[in-house]
Amino acid sequence: MSSREKILAAVRANKPDLQPLPDVIIPVREEGLIEEYRRVAEGIGAKVYEVGGTAEVKELLAASFEPSQRIVSPLEDFADMAEGIEAGIDPHSFADVELAIVRAEIGVSENSALWVPEGNVSQRVIPFICQHLAILINRERIVPTLQQAYSLIGEINYGYGVFIAGPSKTADIEQSLVLGAHGPRSLRVFIVG
């Protein structure tokens, strides 16, 4: 008997009687989401900007980054300040990226997480390998909790997707918080609209 059969047989022999699967939707409030989002995001080390459009985002980023630094973005709006991201090429070739600019599909105010599916970054490694990360999110796409986020995601068949909340960090040395563990050292969130 294969291990697969052995394991499944042991589960069948030992499992308890069937228990119901609960389906709980927790009611939430819908006011003050942007304020909550900002408070939580800043609390975990992100910078939050409310902007009218991409022009403003560019202005803010141009103030912090030099044109000589490698900036990448799959967004056409940023083609004048960032190179595109070609899918399918060797992901190692992005090792020297200073700033990546991407768009999130959903924001969650309770934890400031941003849903970034693979299609939004072209290459999965982009939001991790860059030294700094900027994410745009439309104001009306910010929902209260993860439950609402997952109902928006629904049954979309992505290959990879990630919730990102704040810059990469660690507190493994004596619980001292250090931003910039292996991923980006900073996260800028631009709430657009």
Binding site: K15, P22, V24, G159
Partner: protein, 465 residues
Amino acid sequence: MVKEETQQQHKGLAEHSGLADIFNRDEQRVNWHDETLWFVRSKRDKAAHSLPEWELLRETASQIKHNVLSDLDTYLQQFEEQALINGVTVHWAADAREHNQIVHSILKKHEINRMVKSKSMLTEECHLNEYLKEHGVEVIDTDLGERIVQLAEEPPSHIVLPCIHKKKEEIGELFHTHLGTAAGESDPQVLTEAARQHLRESFLTRRLALTGVNFAVAETGEFVVCTNEGNADMGSHLADVHIASMGIEKIIPRRKDLGIFLRLLARSATGQPITTYSSHFRKPRAGQEMHIILVDNGRTVQLGREDFRNSLKCIRCGACMNTCPVYRRSGGHSYHNAIAGPIGSILAPNLDMKAYADLPFASTLCGSCSNVCPVKIDIHDQLYKWRQVLVKEGHVSPVKAMGMKVMAFTFAMPRFFAFAGKAGRVVMKYLPFVVSNKLNPWYKEREMPKPPKESFREWYKRERR
């Protein structure tokens, strides 16, 4: 010397109390450890109390896990089917040995002998690193805390905070030796930067990455990995081959159930609203090979133990450790098991009753662990129930067993009880050194109480007259 003694845990020679003694030699460190973990526990409280629906979330999570355990074979097959559709190779491992062999066979197939690994308590449980080392494979643990204990040649002492037992000066020394940081450098910011540079080189040069799994979704075949550092993603997105190892109990039914579990996990673990990254892997990226290894290693046996099966609901947040008065003062290594603390103490005897018979006794049964558990495992009840099983099966030391027998005998004989009480009071009054000495384990770290003049029974008899 302390290191050698701590390493005895690998050989299963030491008992919790003896290993706790080693940890307790440095009182200042114990106090620091105690206070730091309590601080993490306080952050958990703050996060939990900020959500009015917290208790509803815990109850729902517990029920979802109950449903999973009651239909686990169906969910596992559904998960496998979906994963295969997604282009992922699925392996089944009955035990630790088979898991390790599968990992090694994938390495051999690709002629790879260097790999990176993000945090996976399952691979600690399986002793994968040791196995691969014996077979000439170099494994670099990429979680900062895990890398630190790896350089120190120690196991992690906490499932979420692997090097919480180490002071920054010791870490500075390790980094000075292995990563070339300046002698005496102990600033966490500087040390973390050194590790970032060192591990970035590893990420960029290793072709195989292994990650753990926090949740695996039956309906979609995807799995979710949670990190703060981004190390699981740096490893897997740069590697040609991604292996994800998971215990079979990591299954949840639906994608939307993540909306319950991810709300609980980080808040319970560190008080964060969510980990920095919650990565959902469903398909390998173009040109990449992805493997999932489903591991039993005793889990189906635990599923059959009615009193203990709830322990399989665990989502490895570590809240029970941070709150435990024994864990905080005895350190993770005193549990001589991959998973320490209260949850480790109810999981370990399932794997080997004899080797871990001491662990269910390493508790005050105060119940704090059960109160903070995000999936409502009745941890302290199970600790108590394990004690019954272990004594019945003859797995406790003869001294402890004899002590219990004497106690049972005394309690069952009212006259002998009265006599023994009186004798005790007389001895403590006139010959205190008989009990106040090193041979009496109750005297350790305690003052013996002043003996009362009379027992309650004597007082009651007198007063009733």
